[in-house]
Each structure stands twice: as structure tokens, then as C-alpha cells.
């Protein structure tokens, strides 16, 4: 058995040596030419398929890279756009303030908000302008959007402003197209309420609320907000919620104005403002 195997191996060696010798003498032979052709065809087909598959994944990789690059570029552009948009808004705001400064005799100062009120229940902020800039207690803080609040304390170098949303804030206002009078008060949260509006007065959601000037403190016609909710309650008055014209959480700069000095002071002004002070 073992000799048989050895014989087989010897046969292999002899056969290989013979074939090689024959080729050396007579030239190359190719007994498997038809098989080779078929094999090359198969191999070529498989290679083509392989290239297609790898090409597909290469394309995906390339596209993925391209998507990454474009996404980054898009993000950059978006950031630039947002920056430009913020710049445009800032420019519009500054222009509005400039217009107010140039055309209004009520203008006192423009100031930046430097701090928010620290109290849990207080809706106040501090501005970086004080008595040196002519700011006094009870002056009005506005933004291009409308009424922001009023000055409750003016010191050297800074002032404290009570926001319209503070529970201690109150202002005489006119409501809607009919011009019904009411009192706008802060709710203590992020909105205001309209006080003393009876059921015979028609109030709709979205009605504009503006100062009336009848309290002798706020000039007439400052946009204070719009009605956001009307609740029918039992009692003498309606409960009306007003969304302030100014987003009180996002105020960066305010203009301080005073009531038109040409108008006579309203009796009882001091009494009312004292009540609204903390």
C-alpha cells in the first residue's frame, strides 16, 4: 500500500518532468485551452461583477464624503446666514432707536440690560444707565416692539426696571378697536392680565392693547401687547390674558422715555406709581 503511494508520487514527478522536458524541447503546450477560455470568461465576469460591486461601494464612499463636505459647507452657510440675519435685526433695532432719539422729545436714554432680577417672584432687570443719563423713577422703558416696563429705581450708573409682567406693574390701557379702557397688570409669570373689563365689552383674541395715557405715567399709544386668552368667569369682570408686545425674556436693550412734558400731569399720578413700586 505504502509502495503504491510512493509509486504514485514517483509517477507524478516523472510525469511533470516529462511534460516540462517536452515543452523545453518542443515548445509550450496548452492542453487545457478550451477550459482556460471558459475559465477566463468566468473569471472576467466575476471580476466585472466584483468591480461593479466595489465601484458601487466606492461611489457610496465618495458620495458619503461629498455629503459630509457639503453638509459642513451648508452648516457654515447657515451659521453665516443666521449671523447676517441677527446683524440685520440688530441694525433695524438700532435704526428704530435712532429714529426715536432723533424725532421724539420724550427720549431720555438708551441702555443695555446688564442683569436680570434675582428675586424668585420679581420680573425686573438692571440697565447700565442711571441718573447721569437723566433717568428718573417712573420713566418708561420701551423697545421697538412696544412697552417693556418702567423705571422703579434710578441710581448713579444703573437703573432698575420693572417689567410689564411683574405682578406689581399696572398701566392704563385701551383695548381693541373700540378703545375700551382697562388696566393692564402683570401676572407675575410671562404674561399680563386685563383688569376691570366687564361682560358688556366685546373682547376678542388678538385684540391690540395700547397705553391710554390716562394714568398720567405712560404716554398714549405705546403698544403693550395683544389679547391671547379670554376666560368667561362668574363675577363682575372677565379674565383676559394679554401677551406682552415685548418678549421679556429676550430684552437686550431698552430706550427710556418720559411722558410728554407738554401734557399736564394727571392728578393722583404719584399715588398710583407708589403702589406699583416694590
Amino acid at each position: 500500500m505504502r509502495s503504491k503511494r510512493s509509486l504514485l508520487f514517483v509517477l507524478l514527478v516523472v510525469a511533470a518532468a516529462s511534460v516540462m522536458t517536452y515543452q523545453v524541447r518542443k515548445g509550450a503546450i496548452d492542453p487545457l485551452a478550451p477550459v482556460n477560455k471558459a475559465f477566463y470568461g468566468l473569471s472576467g465576469g466575476l471580476q466585472g461583477a466584483y468591480r461593479s460591486v466595489t465601484g458601487f461601494f466606492t461611489d457610496i464612499t465618495a458620495n458619503s464624503h461629498r455629503v459630509k463636505v457639503l453638509t459642513k459647507r451648508l452648516q457654515d452657510m447657515k451659521a453665516r446666514y443666521e449671523k447676517a440675519e441677527a446683524g440685520a435685526l440688530e441694525a433695524a433695532r438700532l435704526k428704530a432707536l435712532l429714529d426715536l432719539k432723533q424725532h421724539s422729545p420724550q427720549y431720555v436714554a438708551t441702555a443695555n440690560v446688564v442683569a436680570r432680577g434675582a428675586g424668585r417672584w420679581a420680573n425686573t432687570f438692571t440697565i447700565d444707565a442711571g441718573r447721569e443719563e437723566g433717568i428718573q423713577k417712573n420713566m418708561i422703558a420701551i423697545t421697538p416692539d412696544g412697552l417693556a416696563g418702567k423705571v422703579i429705581r434710578a441710581e448713579k450708573g444703573y437703573s432698575l426696571v420693572l417689567l410689564v409682567t411683574d405682578a406689581r406693574f399696572a398701566a392704563a390701557v385701551r383695548l381693541g378697536p373700540g378703545g375700551q379702557e382697562a388696566i393692564l397688570a402683570g401676572s407675575g409669570a410671562n404674561d399680563c392680565i386685563l383688569k376691570y373689563v366687564t361682560y358688556d365689552i366685546k373682547v376678542n383674541k388678538g385684540d391690540k392693547v395700547a397705553t391710554s395715557g390716562l394714568d398720567g405715567l405712560f404716554p398714549d399709544g405705546i403698544n403693550a401687547g395683544q389679547v391671547s386668552k379670554v376666560v368667561e368667569e362668574t363675577g363682575f369682570f372677565r379674565r383676559i390674558t394679554v401677551k406682552p408686545a415685548v418678549d421679556t425674556s429676550d430684552i437686550e436693550q431698552v430706550t427710556i422715555i418720559k411722558k410728554d412734558p407738554s401734557l399736564p400731569p394727571v392728578p393722583g399720578q404719584g399715588q398710583q406709581t407708589d403702589e406699583t413700586h416694590p
Binding site: 503511494r5 504514485l8 507524478l12 516540462m20 509550450a28 496548452d30 487545457l32 475559465f39 468566468l42 466584483y50
Partner: protein, 151 residues
């Protein structure tokens, strides 16, 4: 029948891989590995027959000289059988050493055949380095080819 077809398909894949595949910049030599595996797990006849056949086809596809591949793969199949006999027991180390050693031996046989029977003038040292790398690859694969699991 089904098993034969599977086996033939495997042979075809081995040939296609050897023709197309490159591992670490080196052309694969799965035909040697297959000859080793068949020679080890079956019989010397099977090893010689399969090895010589694969070698013949590869020589023919190489279109240089028919014979060296046939001889080397046949020799691998033949000697692989002796590793399965006597005091040798299958371990991954034996698989590694057997596959790597026989691949190297087959390569050297091929080199010698080409040098003797053709005008092949390839330098020995770079050829040996390539052969060692091929042997290591085949040895690694050979360590995983436990005959009981595969056969």
C-alpha cells in the same frame, strides 16, 4: 453528487481566488492549502490527484510552463497525508506548521522546476521572502482547518 458539486465549486473558487486575489500585496496560494487539506484529511491519492489537477490548471492559466505547479501541488497533497499518520495528532500548531511548511516546500519545488526546465531567471531571495509570506498566510489558515470540522 451534491457533495461532489460542492467540492468542484470550492475548487473553482480556489482557482478564481488564486487568479484574482491578493493578500497584503501577495498573490494567494489557496490551491496549495487545498491540496494540503485534502491530502491530510482524505488520502495520499486524493491529495496527489487534486493537487496535481489544480496545479495543472494553474500552470495552464499561467501560460508559462505546464508542470511545476502540477508537481508542487501534487507533492503537497502527497506529503500532507503523512502528517495525519503515525504519532501526529491534529492540533492547530500542526495545521500551521504543516500548511506553512508544505506551502514553502511546494514553492521551492516550483522554483527549482522552473529554474531547471525553463529560462526562468528569477532571483532566489525575493522569491523566498514572498514564499515565506505566502507560507505564513497559508499556515494561519491551515491552523483553522481542523479536518473533523471541515470534512
Amino acid at each position: 453528487m451534491k457533495r461532489t458539486l460542492k467540492f468542484l465549486l470550492l475548487c473553482l473558487l480556489v482557482l478564481i481566488a488564486d487568479l484574482n486575489l491578493k493578500l497584503f500585496g501577495l498573490r494567494s496560494d489557496f490551491a496549495s492549502l487545498m491540496a494540503f487539506w485534502v491530502g491530510y484529511s482524505r488520502s495520499a491519492y486524493s491529495g496527489i490527484a487534486l493537487g496535481a489537477s489544480l496545479g495543472l490548471v494553474e500552470d495552464s492559466l499561467g501560460a508559462v510552463l505546464i508542470g511545476p505547479g502540477m508537481l508542487s501541488r501534487g507533492a503537497i497533497g502527497f506529503f500532507a497525508h503523512y502528517l495525519s499518520k503515525g504519532f501526529f495528532r491534529w492540533t492547530p500548531l500542526l495545521g500551521f506548521l504543516g500548511a506553512a511548511g508544505l506551502t514553502f516546500l511546494g514553492g521551492m519545488t516550483e522554483y527549482a522546476s522552473l529554474r531547471v526546465f525553463s529560462d526562468f531567471q528569477g532571483a532566489l531571495l525575493p522569491g523566498i521572502l514572498k514564499l515565506i509570506a505566502q507560507s505564513l498566510i497559508n499556515g494561519t489558515l491551515g491552523a483553522m482547518l481542523e479536518p473533523e470540522n471541515i470534512g
